[in-house]
Symmetry: C2
Subunit: 256 residues, 2 copies
């Protein structure tokens, strides 16, 4: 099984179909990296670079060269042995695989500090993601444009999302509102959600949720800080517990 992703490249099937078949087999982790490669490659293209080797590209992207080649192999064989990759060619193929050839209409819900920041990004970095609607509960915000887009009341979410064919919903509300907003987005046919609220969203299977959770990120870093401190203790004296916080991160002066 698993269909042994074509090594023969028999010219029998149309290209489009073959790509789609392949797309299903790309590991999630690789997709994330492809997006990074795309950015690096775009930068190179702007700098006038036309060709690149896996070694160069991998270093710029901060990954292992072998991993990069394997990632690229998921989308096809577009390199030239002995030479490397053509930057333009790679860019266009990655864009196609990531679905960036069509536009994805984005709606941002919750126009607080973060919502403002998101709306003002203006079409989102790397473009192809036009923000077409903003929503908030606060009546005072409704009607006032942010980043050029007028804010609508949250009750209009279903109608407007359907009308503007929003494909990606961004939740930037306070935690208590997140699940309710999510439900409304889902019922408006939105199948992909980017969630900034520190809440675990419950969604049907056919909806894809990605979360960006500051608290979690900070806490992961905190874990590493703690681990480092412990290792330092460990290394400086082979002994056990001179007091686990002997590293002087104590007595810190915090100005509020």
């Amino acid at each position: 099984m698993v269909s042994q992703r074509g090594e023969g490249e028999t010219t029998s099937t149309p290209l489009e179909a073959a790509d789609k078949e392949r797309a299903r087999a790309i590991p999630e982790a690789a997709v994330a990296r492809l997006a990074v490669y795309l950015r690096v490659l775009s930068g190179m293209a702007e700098s006038g670079v036309t060709a690149v080797s896996s070694e160069e590209l991998s270093q710029a992207a901060g990954v292992n060269a072998a991993k990069l080649r394997k990632d690229l192999s998921y989308i096809g064989s577009y390199g030239t042995r002995g030479v490397g990759y053509d930057v333009e060619v790679l860019v266009s193929h990655i864009e196609r695989i990531l679905g960036l050839t069509r536009n994805h209409s984005v709606a941002v819900v919750g126009i607080g500090n973060l919502g403002h920041a998101l709306a003002n990004y203006g079409g989102f970095p790397g473009r192809g993601f036009p923000v077409t609607a903003l929503f908030d509960v606060d009546a005072d915000l409704v009607g006032i444009p942010v980043g050029g887009i007028p804010v609508n009341h949250i009750d209009e979410i279903t109608a407007i999302c359907l009308e503007r064919e929003v494909s990606i919903g961004v939740i930037a509300t306070p935690p208590p509102a997140a699940q309710s907003v999510c439900d409304r987005l889902v019922s408006a046919g939105v199948q992909c959600i980017l969630n900034f609220a520190p809440v675990v969203l419950q969604v049907p299977d056919n909806v894809e949720v990605r979360k960006v959770d500051l608290a979690v990120e900070m806490q992961i870093l905190s874990f590493h800080v703690a681990r480092r401190a412990d290792e330092a203790v460990h290394n400086s004296n082979g002994g056990v517990s001179v007091g686990n916080n002997g590293l002087g991160v104590d007595g810190m002066v915090i100005r509020p």
Copy 2:
């Protein structure tokens, strides 16, 4: 090797040391989930819930129950068979493992839209992460407090970070400035960095970087949108390419 994370729990070694030994063995993925469990548990505690089973907790956290138990087992055995876990106990143990018992001073660099949003979070969600310094290149911003903290010029970054013992640096600058800011943070002794700039940072081995990349998140979602659309085509007619953008995401009206 790998020291077979103690099943015997011989009471020979002090608890503290045992924990640290264990901390090193916790998989990164598990650490991220522990942070999520912690939030869910905190919410439960506030609601007056005192006990919870792995089944309940796992559902609230959106993970498999077995995985949850395995994650918790990395930090020790604090459940009661036949009963479940004591919420308070679990909270305090997770906090300890994540290093949340000490405060981690945070500096935010780049006071644009995002920087404002971050500064105004006010001590960061879940607290324990006091923002003690803000930086920007723009002289017009310097001196004006944001979220109660005055903005300093970026040239002071090294001195102030050292003085206030900043342990986590947050980069919210435009892409071109990110690497330079990163270098300065590192030379100020900051070993953990949270990077919002869409740039691959080059850092020494002893520095931990986590990145939050909106463009990448959006593109991953885009990939899934495309995959869904293809599957839909696939299912509705077994045929090939009725035009790859026949799904009507075209014709969108974008107001600038």
